[in-house]
Symmetry: C2
Subunit: 305 residues, 2 copies
Amino acid sequence: MNVLYIGVCKKNLELYYPSYIRGRFLDSPFTDDQLVATVKQHRINVLMVDVFHSSFNKCLLNRLKDHVRLINFSYQSIESLIDMQEAKRLGILVKKLPDDLYCNEVAEFAITQLLCACKGSFRFDRDIRNGEWNQAAHTNFSMNGKTLGIVGYGNIGKRIASLCKPWGMKILVTKKSRHMGPQPAGITIVDFPTLISQSDFIILAVPIKKDTYQMVDRVHIQKLKKNTIIVNISRGNIVDEKAIAEGLEKGNLYQYCTDVFSQEPIDKNHELVKSNKTILSPHIAWATDSSLKKTYDIWFGQTTI
Amino acid sequence: MNVLYIGVCKKNLELYYPSYIRGRFLDSPFTDDQLVATVKQHRINVLMVDVFHSSFNKCLLNRLKDHVRLINFSYQSIESLIDMQEAKRLGILVKKLPDDLYCNEVAEFAITQLLCACKGSFRFDRDIRNGEWNQAAHTNFSMNGKTLGIVGYGNIGKRIASLCKPWGMKILVTKKSRHMGPQPAGITIVDFPTLISQSDFIILAVPIKKDTYQMVDRVHIQKLKKNTIIVNISRGNIVDEKAIAEGLEKGNLYQYCTDVFSQEPIDKNHELVKSNKTILSPHIAWATDSSLKKTYDIWFGQTTI
């Protein structure tokens, strides 16, 4: 088995699975020609694909078909990364990570960022370091008695709801009508406009699709309750970032916590970075000590040809 | 009814109960003589006491006895603030706030600060604002599967355990033996040294007493697991702050989150403030939007003579 790692962080591999550093590494950026040449030169038959900005389309797959037997993605959604039909036709095995792998980690992270904003943790800490003992900051809100709106009731949304169950919040969720089963205990299914106008806290946990692209826009932001906090652990383009920044500036939105951006890495001069009403992280919610280990366990575990 | 407010934040009162700004205000610092003079001059018969650095001892009570009918504390523990026997003997009514008033707020806050430390929220945010997109920071830990040790299983400790129930942690608690009932479901009662050496996260939620003074000391800090986080929402002197600072410096302790300090307000040159392994707040865990309202409801509700 001759392995080529594509876009794989060597540092993480060294930390978690030093024994697996036994293939070659191809770092981004690279061209299709460079990929094909590397595969041919080193008789690569297994591709381990992590960060990948290209696509295994019909043409590229046909150039690889005489060598590659397995393409093993460290991704959960691979629709846009490979032509599955063509891979199947050519007898190239394709593997990916299970869909629910990170739902607990992402749910934990979303609630952390929400709590941080809700309690004013950043401001209190900063004030003390500046020599201010500010007990009348009024940035500390109770969770108990508030309304939490979860947009998207998939694996992540469900886990968020279950982690928040004892916290004494009213929980609203939106859910695709075609999946509408009986209403889960302690949870109220509502439409998106109702969720927007009734929630104190909103967590965005939908996949990015045509109908979810910028689903939180200028109009919605004007309909929010006072002191609403929005947490985005979905994708940057689920919201209109310009409208979010404007809402923060005008006071229609209290805080925006996001792990994701329309452009990643985000530029440090972006208005969301300049705002003191945002809590930011680098698309990292999924990557904890235990999920990284689990990812490598699964990813390497299915590397057999 | 002639009311004198002692050490009361006028700003909070204006925000939450403007209709109650109908008495006189006595701001700290003041002498006993000034207090007695104000009471006599304005025929005060009700004292509403918030921040109070003195004590209603036998002498002071006897100087007030011909005027004051009610001393109403915005405190939960008043043992050190008034000679209860003497007040009773003189027929002065004494009221205070209920013991469990803030347990949910403090529990929510403790978990927030723990999560903040556990996920590395501060660091991620700071990095992005500095133009770093650092996905390999390895500061993001999973809660699930970890061991949470709660020192003190009173109202606050119980609320913490109940909020954390669905998070998939092993929960250890210490509990006074004389209150030792049947072991609560999902919780393991252990002694303090066991809790110290087995917990990934430790929350201190005991009252300050002779036997809890600096109960976390240099010896305990050496016995902690790797990457342990300690959260203090009790009192500053529950820990030996010097030993904590030393533990952070040497790497025996991963993070220290505290709402309380041995000296409040804490000096901005204190080593805990200088450390980048602390998360700090100004004794504010209890004071949320809803608890402030509730406090005033109760405090003013019992102002009848």
